[in-house]
Symmetry: C2
Subunit: 217 residues, 2 copies
């Protein structure tokens, strides 16, 4: 293995180890000694790649954000109707939160980052922009009412999803997140859907949740 | 001053000092030495009242929760219609978050508490119960559609509010929270209001926000 390949591997191991340690104890209560132990690298190697605990947290947030934005991008590229894509994306993010340690740690760190030297706002702002794109496509599709205030709805979707996963994390370690998302949509869809499309779309979230839970071929 | 009165005063000073320290640096990054410095008490006095950092955080969460629940209780006692009371409560909580250090620190600690030895779920569960009461009264008033799934709506209100204040905290240190709440309501009201009451209630949140911003006599 080349020296460069080894450096990339070490960096990835540090990020995984740090995600594990932060996820277990929370950001503030985790020491860099615990991170290097969890990653199986020396403190020297750790400092070679990251010069502070905050830099490490920001790297996890970036890695998570890349994965989550990738999921949204894939839906936009597949020509799924805008509103259905937005609903699907919420369940896909929930799946990542349950199954992927980097995503789970990254989202938790984003929330704790209010105390960082530089608050981490990019993930929220990027999600708002992505949601606006889904909603505008939904309006073009005729599914979303053209009267909807798109930036306001995108902001509230981002905040609402954030809250749903925080509360689900505290109460059930995210075990009930799909069910809670379906409840979120049943309350948000009436404010989004074009009246003439209501009969077709009122069960959209239940349908998407059911489809996703079917075994994939 | 009696010994008991002094003890009560010291305890309150510790809670205020701890709230200040946690609010500035986050829970995990705050040491008990920083708390005793912020509270102006010795470490001995601190340990006399609280036997761990977590016990201190839980005391702040309890103090915050009492204040916030008190605001909800006052609205229920004043015979305000249920839906209007729920909307008013959300702005009152936002005001407490902006103006009251104990509330602000308590809410932030509740979110960080996912890493505590005992996760703090009581505030979320109590809010869900309170919201159910507001919504049931709203149905009795004829304002809320009787078809609304009351426990689901109460869960989503609690999660949605949580997310709105988290995102507002990160992006603007809660400077835009009232405006973001009004957006939340404009998206949630269509899923809650009885169709025959829509014309009267569609601007409810804007009205409540405006009323509250008027100087009080």
């Amino acid at each position: 293995m080349s020296q460069q390949a080894r450096a990339i591997e070490t960096r990835a191991a540090i990020i995984r180890g740090a995600a594990e340690a932060f996820e277990q104890r929370g950001y503030g209560s985790t020491s860099l000694a615990q991170v290097s132990a969890a990653a199986g690298v020396t403190k020297g190697a750790l400092y070679f790649h990251f010069d502070s605990k905050e830099a490490l947290a920001v790297a996890i947030i970036d890695a998570q954000h890349e994965k989550s934005v990738g999921a949204g991008r894939a839906l936009l590229d597949h020509n799924v109707p805008g509103l259905r894509a937005l609903v699907s994306m919420s369940y896909e993010l929930a799946r990542q939160l349950r199954d992927d340690l980097i995503v789970s740690a990254g989202v938790r760190l984003t929330i704790e980052a209010v105390n960082f030297s530089t608050p981490v706002s990019a993930p929220y702002l990027d999600w708002m922009v992505a949601c606006e794109e889904f909603l505008r496509r939904g309006i073009a599709d005729g599914d979303v009412a053209p009267t909807v205030d798109v930036p306001a709805a995108a902001r509230f979707f981002t905040a609402g999803f954030t809250g749903v996963q925080v509360v689900s994390d505290v109460l059930t370690r995210r075990g009930d997140i799909d069910q809670r998302l379906t409840e979120m949509w049943s309350l948000m869809l009436p404010g989004l859907v074009a009246p003439e499309r209501w009969d077709d779309l009122k069960n959209l979230a239940v349908e998407v949740q059911r489809e996703r839970s079917r075994p994939q071929p």
